[in-house]
């Protein structure tokens, strides 16, 4: 049998084209953000005159899911909130990591400088399969078997708001590592949490800038549907990880394009937007580049108006930098720290805002029941074969961390209002005057309370200390368990 068919040669040759560009050829700098003067580009109706509702009216109507797709942010947020150029941010950076719940990461934040956050109270437990209570505990086994975050599993974890299914749904869930024991797939691993010694950079970040403690992921399900809410404010009906049928619907980046707002995706390996392959193929040459380019663009002050910075997603390894178990969180923490550091040291810092969040809770415990949510559209949930049809898109998912890093972010602040991934979408739309994609983002509140646009509280950015490299002993222990 031949090693390489003619097709292989063709493919190899074709592959050299983008690779050559990636391997050393200098990229043409992309001009920074900001919109041209005069009427904004894009459909005329996007530039319609708006009479803003009062804050109270807007809040009430959003709570009743009264706004619909197409509504402009100024029509839904409330008169006291800024829109367009009044938002002093020209470079928005969105970094979505993977699979960590709020309590799992920040259970100890009240003891480490920020008593205002809501974490699981004393006495919070989940029953194990035999009914014995399992309390949250500090986990120092940093690479452990992935936890259950499927649609069905998550709905059982939430259990109508009792938040008591985290142990049972993880018992014997998922495969065992090469050198693992059955104990490694016991459900109690979902009750582990970290503290400031384990996640020094994240605990520092949460103290220094603004953190939201009622930010939920968008659906009680896995990665792809949740990321779709960040990219499109809907999962197109999907409840499981697969390619959506998004025919006829805009993504957020499509809308940015209509507004002639420049945007880029920085990432290596699989990037989140690859879940829309047919769309992204159109964009790849112009808008997709390497992670390393982010650091170059930040240093050069050439960040676009909107950046998506992706870790190397879901490679299922203990040393991945997306924080998805079995990856040690510390690899991703270090990547996030480098990104934050690059932004704080960038000439663009004074007009920037970074949103750091997580796609979903990964299967880890959290004690806050997901609140009701507005259905994005008329699509009924599409279930994988053989799955029980439970749940709908009328509830948010489990809480995940979300932090805002910006000169305009409030210092040492906790936002208590309720958000989901479409709150970030809404902020981007507010800045660039873009209508809502679906009924979900139409009724989303942007995280205004986390900003103070009257005066920058971090005009001089704090010095970022990179967390230490993961030490050799921990790496070896994880390598032994997972790679044999």
């Amino acid at each position: 049998m031949k090693l390489r068919s003619p097709r292989a040669s063709l493919l190899g040759a074709l592959l050299l084209l983008p690779l050559a560009a990636a391997c050393g050829a200098e990229d043409v700098p992309v001009p920074g953000g900001g919109l041209p003067a005069g009427p904004l580009p894009g459909p005329a109706e996007w530039n319609r005159d708006v009479t803003a509702p009062t804050d109270a009216e807007a809040t009430e109507k959003r709570g009743a899911c009264g706004y619909t797709a197409g509504s402009l942010p100024a029509e839904t947020q409330g008169a006291s909130f800024p829109s367009g150029k009044d938002i002093p941010v020209d470079h928005i950076v969105v970094m979505m990591m993977e699979n960590r719940s709020f309590d799992h990461y920040f259970q100890d934040l009240p003891e480490h400088g920020q008593p205002d956050v809501e974490v699981a109270p004393e006495g919070f437990t989940n029953p194990d399969p035999e009914g014995a209570p399992v309390a949250p505990y500090r986990d120092q086994q940093f690479c452990f078997v992935d936890t259950n975050h499927g649609w069905t599993g998550t709905h059982r974890q939430v259990n109508g708001g009792k938040m008591d299914g985290f142990v049972v749904t993880n018992e014997a869930n998922h495969e065992q590592p090469a050198n693992g024991t059955l104990e490694m797939i016991a459900g109690k691993r979902a009750m582990g949490h970290y503290n400031a010694d384990d996640l020094p950079f994240y605990y520092w970040l949460a103290n220094e800038f603004a953190i939201a403690d009622h930010y939920h992921c968008s659906v009680q399900g896995p990665t792809w549907p949740n990321r779709m809410f960040l990219y499109a404010a809907t999962s197109f009906g999907l409840t499981y990880n697969t390619f959506p049928d998004s025919t006829g619907s805009d993504l957020l980046v499509d809308r940015l394009g209509l507004r002639e707002v420049d945007w880029k995706i920085y990432g290596d390996g699989f990037i989140g937007h690859a879940m829309f392959p047919d769309r992204l193929i159109e964009y790849a040459d112009e808008h997709v580049t390497s992670l390393e380019q982010f650091f170059a663009d930040a240093a050069a002050g050439t960040l676009p108006a909107v950046s998506f910075v992706d870790p190397r997603l879901a490679s299922d390894t203990w040393d991945a930098d997306d924080e998805h178990p079995p990856a040690m969180a510390q690899f991703g923490q270090r990547l996030a720290a480098r990104v934050v550091q690059a932004l704080t040291e960038s000439p663009s810092w004074s007009r920037s805002a970074l949103f750091l969040t997580y796609d979903e809770h990964g299967g880890f415990y959290d004690h806050v029941p997901p609140p009701p949510a507005c259905k994005p559209d008329d699509r009924a949930p599409l279930f994988d074969q053989g799955k029980d049809p439970v749940g709908d898109f009328d509830e948010l998912g489990v809480r995940v961390p979300m932090m805002v890093v910006s000169p305009w972010a409030r210092k040492h602040f906790v936002g208590h209002r309720t958000y989901d991934h479409t709150s970030i979408v809404r902020f981007i739309q507010a800045r660039f005057v873009i209508p809502a994609l679906t009924n979900r983002d139409a009724n989303a509140e942007a995280p205004w309370e986390m900003f103070d646009f009257s005066a920058p509280q971090h005009a001089t950015p704090p010095a970022v200390t990179l967390p230490p490299e993961v030490d050799a002993a921990k790496r070896e222990a994880c390598e032994l368990i997972f790679d044999g």
Partner: protein
């Protein structure tokens, strides 16, 4: 068209930007490697850059094999989509499956997150499916619209995979392990026991052919850069093994045409040996798919691990095992000690009697608690240390938890932890034995000792099929061999009773359980469903109503009666139950009955051969 392809491929490569890194250029076009960014983070030292080039010279061709397979699969998906509305495109479908199987090992290893929508997550107990299995279901139902939707997803996934695989983690050793694991998986697929097994036996055959291609192309690509005599010899051996395995497939239309699949599966172990020899020829030490409990080779890489091979006992992450003779002896003593029950009337051995296959021969055991609902049939403890979960409903995970649960259960042994400790501390022999363990006399140490004994004793692995798997010939007669073919083929048994445990325990990690609702009636062949809700009592899921863990059929002829309620007295009765199509076949409406349980229409000779296999081939020698 060509321009389209160019644009697609370029763009897809950009989707996985730098997926190949600059390394890919080494394999794609010698000399084209440039000094670009190598990896996120600091610039590499020149030494590591050289090591990186060395590494990829062996591996980059493998990356291209995976990408070529994806490109070919993409074309197959497009072709099938074009044919679909006309119907009758089975050949196109089989060609697509073959091509997906030929790429799957590469995609799993180098692009797991894109492979999940295509093939489903690897060995996960909750999620299942993937577009390929959904397509299989849609075609079986004749639902063209659903099939088209899944084909679109397959096209999308393969477009991305064709554009660039993430070869960064694929060192030469990992590459050999990928191919070695594929050889092991080939055996699993050949016995129709893999997750996501398609409905049709012709589709299984297509998967087998595709996996063989994956291994042969990979071995060839891996060897291409070496050119030394040792590698050439190793590659020759791989090709010979592939040819042996391929020969019967060429003449077959479906797996039902294959004869002696036990031998075929065993041969996949030899293919694995040959593949690993490619690595050892280069001084690498590729890992086995898993270690053998009863090794037959004198060095690791030469062990012919196949799907029929029993795994070595689990180790703790620190490498230790509970195989201390004193601990095992302590477990043996505890197992037979009636002081472990509240009223002193029974020991573990009472219900798990060695002379009755470590079961009790009853439909249901007597309960010590008159108020409890009737207990379920006592399952054999034989091979329980291999089980992914314990109990009929899987409510305990580890054998240790199973032991504790039964000791404490008021209906079974009824002894509290405190009471147990008190009773054992009254015995000087126990005090001495437990003194050696941290914690002394306590419940967890009792369970640990019991399980140490179970692990040492209850996986004997000397049934004729086990001896056959270890290389002995003439241990399976013609009828047993035929019976095995019926078991894995027409009777679809191995789809749940998965080798080598022949139970609902998925290899290779033996940690993912299989539950199935089969519609066991209250009384044999009576059309009234047994009221026991089974797994649903634990999981709360409608899909788990009346579902139970698939038990082992090893030593089945010793462990009558059968099913969770002991309602079927003989293996023949069990086979006839399945032959009729399970509970539905008895006339009950069971929404969630496992689709593999369906009328089988076994011929008398097939039924008889299956029974011979069940009665003799999985029977350990009495001791």
């Amino acid at each position: 068209m060509r321009a389209d392809l160019r644009r697609l491929t370029r763009a897809a490569a950009a989707l996985t930007t730098l997926a190949l890194g600059c390394d890919a250029a080494v394999g794609g076009a010698p000399g084209a490697v440039s000094a670009g960014p190598v990896a996120a983070g600091a610039a590499p030292s020149s030494a590591s850059a050289i090591a990186s080039a060395e590494r990829t010279s062996a591996v980059a061709p493998l990356v291209l094999v995976g990408q070529n397979a994806a490109e070919a699969a993409r074309a197959r998906a497009v072709a099938l989509a074009d044919r679909l509305p006309a119907g009758g495109a089975r050949g196109e479908y089989l060609a697509l499956r073959r091509q997906v199987a030929a790429g799957a090992p590469y995609w799993r290893r180098m692009a797991s997150s894109i492979t999940e929508p295509l093939l489903g997550p690897l060995r996960s107990s909750e999620e299942s499916g993937g577009a390929l299995l959904a397509l299989d279901g849609a075609l079986a139902e004749g639902n063209d619209a659903a099939a088209l939707a899944e084909l679109t997803r397959i096209r999308q996934a393969t477009t991305i995979l064709a554009g660039g695989l993430d070869g960064k983690r694929l060192g030469p050793e990992a590459a050999v392990e990928m191919l070695s694991d594929a050889a092991w998986e080939l055996g699993l697929v050949g016995l129709e026991a893999n997750g996501g097994v398609p409905d049709g036996h012709d589709a299984v055959l297509a998967d087998m052919v595709g996996l063989l291609e994956a291994i042969e192309l990979g071995a060839t690509a891996f060897s291409a850069s070496a050119g030394d005599p040792a590698t050439e010899r190793a590659l020759g051996e791989v090709r010979a093994r592939v040819a042996t395995l391929r020969a019967p497939l060429r003449a077959a239309v479906s797996t039902l045409d294959l004869v002696d699949r036990a031998a075929w599966a065993r041969e996949t172990g030899q293919l694995g040996v040959a593949v690993r020899a490619l690595g050892t020829a280069r001084g690498l030490s590729p890992r086995l798919p898993y270690g053998a409990r009863y090794p037959v080779a004198d060095n690791g890489a030469a062990e012919p691990v196949s799907v029929l091979t029993l795994p070595a006992p689990r180790r703790r992450p620190d490498g230790s095992r509970d195989d201390d003779a004193a601990l095992i002896a302590l477990g043996a003593r505890l197992f037979a000690d009636t002081r472990l029950s509240a009223d002193g009337s029974r020991s573990c051995r009472t219900c798990h009697a060695p002379e009755r296959g470590f079961a009790d021969g009853l439909a249901r055991p007597r309960s010590l608690d008159a108020s409890s609902p009737p207990l379920r049939h006592v399952p054999t403890l034989l091979y329980a240390p291999l089980a992914a979960v314990q109990m009929w409903d899987g409510r305990t995970l580890t054998p240790e938890a199973q032991a504790r649960n039964v000791i404490h259960s008021t209906a079974e042994m009824g002894l509290s932890a405190e009471h147990l400790v008190k009773k054992l501390q009254g015995d000087a022999g126990y005090r001495t034995a437990f003194a050696a363990m941290p914690g002394g006399v306590d419940v967890s140490n009792v369970a640990r000792a019991l399980v140490a004994w179970e692990v040492a004793t209850l996986v004997p692995g000397d049934a004729p099929l086990d001896r056959f798997a270890r290389g002995e010939d003439a241990v399976l007669d013609a009828r047993a061999t035929h019976g095995f073919d019926v078991f894995v083929g027409k009777a679809r048994c191995a789809r749940c009773h998965i080798p080598p445990a022949f139970a609902g325990t998925r290899p290779r990690d033996f940690a993912v359980p299989v539950y199935a609702a089969i519609g066991v009636p209250e009384k044999r062949d009576a059309p009234r469903l047994d009221p026991d809700r089974g797994r649903a009592l634990v999981s709360g899921l409608p899909a788990d109503e009346h579902a139970f863990k698939t038990p082992t059929v090893r030593n089945g002829s010793r462990t009558a009666p059968y099913f969770h309620n002991g309602s079927y007295p003989t293996l023949a009765a069990v086979v006839d139950f399945y032959d009729k199509g399970g509970g539905r076949g008895l006339g009950m409406a069971i929404d969630n009955q496992d689709p593999e349980v369906r009328p089988l229409r076994l011929r008398p000779d097939e039924r008889e051969a299956l029974l011979v296999f069940l009665r003799t081939s999985l029977l350990d020698r009495a001791r």
